[in-house]
């Protein structure tokens, strides 16, 4: 089989990246990050403007670094969702244009699947329980009964969103990212401030913790009761303990011996340390990656695209829409239904266009 080279374009949030992957090897993976002023978050319009300004430079860099010409690329993969509408559209327009200009097939990739595939590629994890934690997602995904299933998740905001918004309260710098700066400050924290701890079965809730800390932070700081570093420390300790707890539940539930942490928050060293202790205590193994692959990047889209392309999937131009919603897992809704009907008739055999299909059945959304 000849080598297959896939270009992946990512821009679902404030990072824009282009990555080239050839048969499991990352050839290049440059990216740019939109950094808003302290106290602010990234708004869709501003973020899209940032992406428009630098996406072509990033693309050129990716090709140069890999030493490839457009003719060497076999397929153009892009993030179809979930994410912010305006930035997603920006990147999708570039992907569609390239596919037509270079006369290459186009492939829309689910962002979450990209994170998991990249994590598996880099770490070599075989059958992990996945903790996927980022600015927009918080999920515990595990393989059970021939499908990847979401066992636990946030019932309101994502853990990264909670951290980012806390950073805005304290006006912590967004450069390089609020989460990184909180992590550095937390290392100097001494005192554990009591915060709500909200685990509901295998689900977690962060909005109450955020409201609480937003309310008490300035009062406590003004009275000298604690330092900003103590607050960062306490928030991290509380949020991460909740995440590790639900991951462990899912592992116990599925009898899993591997854990993989992916997503932007996944490169936090304290979270990795806590996950590693939990795994060691139950005789399991932790897999994690660093910021190059944890944080949104183009290579992860290329890698998931490579897996899909290998099984003969492509996205037609008229299907190359984007979606902000997370319920979409890689199968266009109309085709998904069309294919599921005969599958059910055939008594439980799996048929879908999901990128998992060739390996272990479909990544399913558990409910409705």
């Amino acid at each position: 089989m000849p080598a297959v080279t896939v270009l992946g374009l990512e821009g679902s949030a404030n990072k824009v990246g282009a990555g080239l992957v050839r048969d499991g090897r990352v050839l290049s993976n440059p990216r740019r990050t939109f950094v808003p002023a302290p106290g602010q978050g990234f708004l869709p319009g501003q973020t899209a403007r940032h992406h428009r300004g630098c996406v072509l430079a990033v693309l050129r860099e990716a090709l140069q670094e890999a030493g490839l010409e457009p003719a060497d690329v076999d397929c153009v993969a892009y993030t179809k969702g979930p994410g912010m509408g305006a930035p997603l559209v920006t990147v999708a327009v570039v992907a569609r244009t390239l596919a037509q200009l270079w006369n290459k097939p186009l492939l829309g990739v689910n962002h979450c699947v990209g994170h998991i595939e990249m994590g598996r590629l880099i770490t070599g994890a075989q059958n992990p329980t996945v903790l996927y934690v980022s600015g927009g997602n918080t999920q515990v995904i595990a393989y059970s009964e021939r499908r990847y299933r979401i066992f636990g998740e946030t019932i309101d905001i994502a853990v990264g969103n909670c951290l980012d918004r806390f950073a805005r309260v304290l006006k912590i710098s967004n450069d390089p990212s609020p989460g990184y700066n909180i992590e550095q400050m937390a290392k100097k924290g001494q005192k554990l401030v009591e915060l709500p701890y909200t685990v509901k079965g295998m689900d977690v809730s962060f909005s109450g913790i955020l409201s609480h800390i937003e309310e008490v932070a300035h009062k406590m700081l003004a009275s000298g009761e604690c330092t900003p570093e103590d607050l960062c420390f306490s928030l991290q300790e509380t949020l991460f303990a909740m995440l590790v707890e639900i991951t462990e539940r899912a592992m116990a539930h599925c009898g899993s011996q591997e854990a993989l942490v992916v997503g932007g928050v996944g490169c936090n060293m304290r979270l990795q340390e806590m996950m590693r202790i939990m795994c060691a205590e139950r005789g399991a193994k932790l897999f994690a990656t660093d910021e190059r692959f944890c944080i949104d990047n183009g290579a992860m889209i290329a890698q998931a695209g490579w897996e899909m392309f290998r099984t003969g999937q492509v996205t037609q131009l008229e299907d190359s829409w984007i979606t902000q919603s997370a319920v979409w897992w890689g199968t266009p809704p109309d085709r998904g239904r069309a294919q599921q009907a005969p599958a059910q008739a055939a008594h439980g055999t799996q048929a879908s266009e999901s990128p998992w299909q060739h390996r272990r059945g479909q990544l399913s959304v558990r409910r409705r």
């Binding site: 979930p82 927009g136 309101d156 300790e237 939990m278 897999f287 990656t289 949104d296 409910r367 409705r368």
Partner: protein, 238 residues
Amino acid sequence: MAGGGGEAGACAVSPPPLQGLQLVQQGAEARLYRGQFLGRAAVVKLRFSKRYRHPALEERLSRRRTAQEARSLLRCRRAGISAPVVYFVDYVSNCIYLEDIVESTTVRDYITSVQQSGKDTSNLFLLAEKIGEVLARMHDEDLIHGDLTTSNMLLRPPVEELDLVLIDFGLSFISGLPEDKGVDLYVLEKAFLSTHPNTDTLFEALLKKYSATSKKSSLVIKKLDEVRLRGRKRSMVG
């Protein structure tokens, strides 16, 4: 880069809290022992400490969960909902001594075995209704379980009589809010449907019986619909 650092080591074996107890299960957060307590068949649930948590947080959580479990079990029994008798609570070692429901089966195992046997599944619908009824009564007592799964429900022998016993109240709390009850059902719905594929109609029967039994069910079901639309269903970024 590829940081796979966790050593594969067995969990530290610690002595049982009382002599003569046998370790029967090591769960995610507690070890279960079986044996005799003052001449009665007992299960001892020992909440062991998690090293990944900050010690102060660990202490707070263990104590709270042990206390809450004992309280909620008593509250259930006062309301006539079947739950194990609490024999003794040891707050120093965070141990609870409970009645052993001898020869019981978890609802999870029961559903799986009926499904696999290919036998008549009508009994499962009776079971689902039974669960709906018990949960409605529990919620009417303003008791929120916090970790409803089919593994946390037992059936006393003989299983056909569907004598349901609720266990594992470590995450429980008292609340009259429809929001909390709705989330409680949401947690069960997800656990139920992920553990038992193709049981949507069973769960519908459960909810229907819940609505019929509980006095305040309409607000709760409305909240449940709302909660379903949060999380993954909402538009997300990142």
